[in-house]
Amino acid sequence: MSEAIRGFMGAREIWQVPLAASVVAGLLLGLLGVFVVLRRTVFVSAALTQISTAGLVATLLVEERVHIETEHAWEQLAVAMTCSVVGALVLGPFRSRRLPTEAGVGASWVIGSALVVLGASRLVHAAHDLGGLVFGNAVAVPASDLWVIVAVALLGVAALGVFAKELLFCSFDPETAQALGMPVRLWDALLFLVIGLAIPASARALGALPTFAFLTLPAAAALLLRLRLRTAFSVAAAIGVVAAGGGYVISWIAEIPTGATMVAVAALFLLPGAVIRGGR
């Protein structure tokens, strides 16, 4: 084990950027997850990860089939972010008088998933990258992706910090906020814009599945502890950081899949709240 740790420390050049990207993504998703869970929009984030991945697969298909150059990470990320942000702005505030909200979200998730599968089946050269895109392959994250995640995290933390009371009121009781003249749609749009940007940016480092998990598990773990809301935000962010960082290190040393390890570590944080409070 000590040899594995020495090996890990000796490979700093390789892991320092991916680890930093994972930790920043864990912090951002942990924070946003509190809103996602309390607004009961967990499956909106699941649908967005699929839509974002579908956008990514589309860029790879365009590269291979139409021979339009999209190999550059920025182009792939731009397409994934566009898909995710559009999806977030539509699905986030989605209300239909003819359909339950879950139906629209479920339809988006399943259509996004089907597009990923269909697109992946037509990929030849990039097929081997797809596992990393979906399940996470944080071993190889370029520095440019780190800066994208840092920029989105700064934007997200600033939005959540500066407009905390507006986002809180419009999330907790949109009916009253609107009756009192607050532009609820605008604040909803800001929140889902940040979520829409955070998902593809984080998925580059963590993968789609861990991104969805980090929007759910840290917040759920913090809320199970029955903390005050402000404390729950801090604890969820801390769990995101520890689970992402810890999961990365463990996966490296144990030579097991990185994304799944991060999710497993995040899931462990559910235990204290579930055990102490009996899950109530």
Binding site: L38, R40, V162, F163, K165, E166, L168, F169, F172, D173, E175, T176, A177, Q178, A179, L180, G181, M182, L223, R226, L227, R228, L229, A232
Partner: protein, 255 residues
């Protein structure tokens, strides 16, 4: 008394579709207006249109000057899963006036404490909102509305789902808040009994029968008017203090 807000020749509804037309309505300083009708009859739509939260389908919404509004939604519309204390919920009443990006300060917290005291839940300020009883949550939501020192307090079914004691206690709070006559109250309720002794004026609202009728309490809490609203005979009794009780009468057996 000058009008705080009024609807003139209004049609109210959603997405350009009128649910209720021909609405003439005025709320003056010190009014206590009750909107009464069946569930799903358009009371909430009318009230939210009056507050400017929903666009008019037709007609005019007039208010001579900007208005400080307090709004109390139906208790069941507010999610109890959020880990917020009663004080934190009540503080939200101050947010619209603060403006974007500005934080609440000592004056806001002082106003919230005063509002919680006025409705008798100051001792619960540190308790989680979701752990309060229905009546306590209702009072917290009223405190939130009061925290903005509103000129017009609008309440949507504030006594819905309450036992008689809690309903009477809530109406006592509203009567006290209205007592000075400085604040106007608009309250939607499907129960005429809840407002028959509190409201100064009453509007019957039922979109399914295209019914909108407004008048003073004495004009509206009458057997003929209520029988028209409910579509069956109704008895109105008055006790020695003049308090009204409303009962459905037995229909006469058909020969």
């Amino acid at each position: 008394m000058s009008a705080l807000v009024s609807l003139r020749g209004a049609a109210v509804g959603y997405h350009g579709l009128a649910l209720l037309s021909g609405v003439e309505l005025e709320v003056a300083e010190g009014d206590f207006l009750a909107l009464v009708g069946p569930n799903g009859g358009g009371k909430t739509t009318l009230m939210r249109t009056l507050l400017g939260a929903l666009p008019l389908v037709a007609g005019r919404l007039e208010h001579p000057r900007p208005l400080r509004i307090g709004y109390v939604p139906q208790r069941d519309h507010v999610d109890t899963i959020w880990p917020l204390t009663a004080e934190e919920v009540a503080l939200m009443g101050r947010f619209p006036a603060l403006g974007p990006g500005r934080r609440s300060g000592a004056a806001d917290r002082e106003a919230v404490r005063g509002a919680l005291e006025r409705v008798g839940v100051a001792h619960l300020s540190g308790r989680r909102y979701g752990e309060l009883s229905g009546g306590q949550r209702q009072r917290t939501l009223i405190a939130r509305a009061l925290a903005a020192d509103p000129e017009l307090l609008a309440l949507d079914e504030p006594t819905n789902g309450m036992d008689p004691a809690a309903e009477l206690a809530t109406m006592d709070v509203l009567r006290t808040l209205h007592g000075g006559g400085r604040r106007a109250i608009v309250m939607a309720s499907h129960r005429i009994e809840a407002v028959a002794n509190s409201a100064r004026s009453i509007a019957f609202v039922d979109k399914d029968r295209a019914l909108f009728r407004i008048g003073s309490r004495d004009e509206m809490v009458r057997e003929d008017a209520l029988s028209e609203l409910y579509g069956r005979p109704v008895v109105v009794l008055r006790d020695e203090n003049g308090r009204r009780s409303v009962y459905p009468a037995e229909r006469e057996a058909q020969p």
